[in-house]
Point group: C2
Chain length 251, copies 2
């Protein structure tokens, strides 16, 4: 019953689709930050009313821990995954780190935030993560936002927004729904430019590789009548994306 037959990436998918549709790769990141990824422009229900507006400056701690989350996102890129990273901080220390491994591990539950929550519960020895702050490079999806509320994390610091699956105020505000028995404090925009750029870089590179592959396939198909079938097939298969890239493209 998918609305979009091309499917979606984990939390960032929407971002990717949106940035492509809006031609964001052709504009500066400043434009991205204030338009397409700003939650206040994307929430039709006014659910984001309680979200903290972007502060003029952020604390050294918030910047430090968001950098750590970005480092996790870089690990995702290294294995061909959509770059999303997260860390959980308790009592001034990082107690859990995670990055998106959804295609690699072949499980829905391999989002960065879920990985962090699993590790933090193990570390603290409780399903309640009261007193914890979660830093994530991208606004959590419906599953991750729900897990944050279920684990009673006090505070969520978000790098950039996700216009098509963001549930920290963009499509829904699961993090601050007054009907639930817990609400988190939410701070947006810490290292927003860097968190946006890493996603743009990944998807720009992915589109470039896909374009090159399609071009090669077209060239080879045009030569079909000039080569024996066996050779053509061998050439075609050698141009297929690697398994993990096929997974990302399929989404």
């Amino acid at each position: 019953m998918d609305k979009d037959s091309t499917g979606s990436m984990p939390c960032p998918a929407p971002f990717a689709v949106d940035s492509a549709a809006a031609g964001l790769s052709a504009v500066g990141s400043a434009a991205v930050d204030t338009a397409a990824t700003d939650p206040s422009t994307a929430d039709p229900s006014g659910a984001s009313a309680n979200i903290s507006k972007e502060a003029p400056s952020f604390s050294p701690e918030d910047l430090k821990y968001m950098k750590a989350a970005l480092k996790q996102a870089e690990k995702a890129i290294a294995i061909g995954e959509v770059p999303i990273g997260a860390v959980i901080v308790y009592d001034g220390k990082i107690i859990a780190r995670g990055y998106n491994r959804r295609n690699t591990d072949k499980t829905t539950l391999a989002h960065a935030e879920i990985a962090c929550i699993r590790k933090a519960c193990k570390k603290i020895g409780d399903w309640r993560l009261e007193g914890c702050t979660l830093y994530c490079t991208l606004e959590p999806c419906q599953m991750c936002a729900g897990a944050i509320i279920q684990s009673r994390i006090d505070r969520v610091v978000i790098g950039t927004t996700s216009p098509k699956s963001g549930c920290g105020g963009t499509l829904l505000n699961i993090l601050q729904n007054p009907d639930f028995n817990h609400q988190a404090d939410v701070l947006y925009g810490v290292l927003r430019e860097e968190c946006t750029e890493i996603l743009q870089r990944f998807f720009k590179d992915l589109r470039r590789r896909n374009k090159e592959r399609k071009k090669m396939l077209r060239l080879q198909q045009a030569q079909i009548s000039e080569h024996p079938v066996q050779i053509q097939q061998a050439q075609l298969s050698s141009q297929q994306p690697a398994p993990h890239e096929q997974e990302v493209i399929r989404q």
Copy 2:
């Protein structure tokens, strides 16, 4: 930032709190089914408009698989956990079973539905669970409903509703939000009476045990001046709930 200082159970907590507040243990289960647990009476935003209304009769398959989910819920009771069970069916076969183990495993991610999704992904070898139906005895919470949408499960069959954390139409309709890139078909009320009863039985028994313990403690405290300190302490500690019961009470 908890609204409710007593906290909540996993998905069923709200149910438990509500049933207690409404004195449901004193009324018949029929009353419970049509009033306190009916999602159409609890959704202020009208988000449940797309939910399938209770059918006059259910298919033999739906009844069979919900019975299997109830069997999982019984396993939760056996270890002192709030009884919630779930199964995932693919191609006419149960490919994953799960039950609530949140206090036992000390992790937020030990909800019945999440356990099922983890196992089903492993079985199918993909994070996409297209073609799957999830049967759960209680309406999914925000995390589980989000995981269902993220894993693209086609259909969700729910036993009874959760008035305080239900996100299948009661508080929110995460399962059928048109802004997301996937929506699930939802069927409510399969074996609703049995799914309600197992929760009522658990919480009724829990309240009875708590009441008895409090009574014993009061009696012992009244005798403090008549007994040596050591003996009193020994008596008091012998009346403490077992560790897993302390966890449930604390929620």
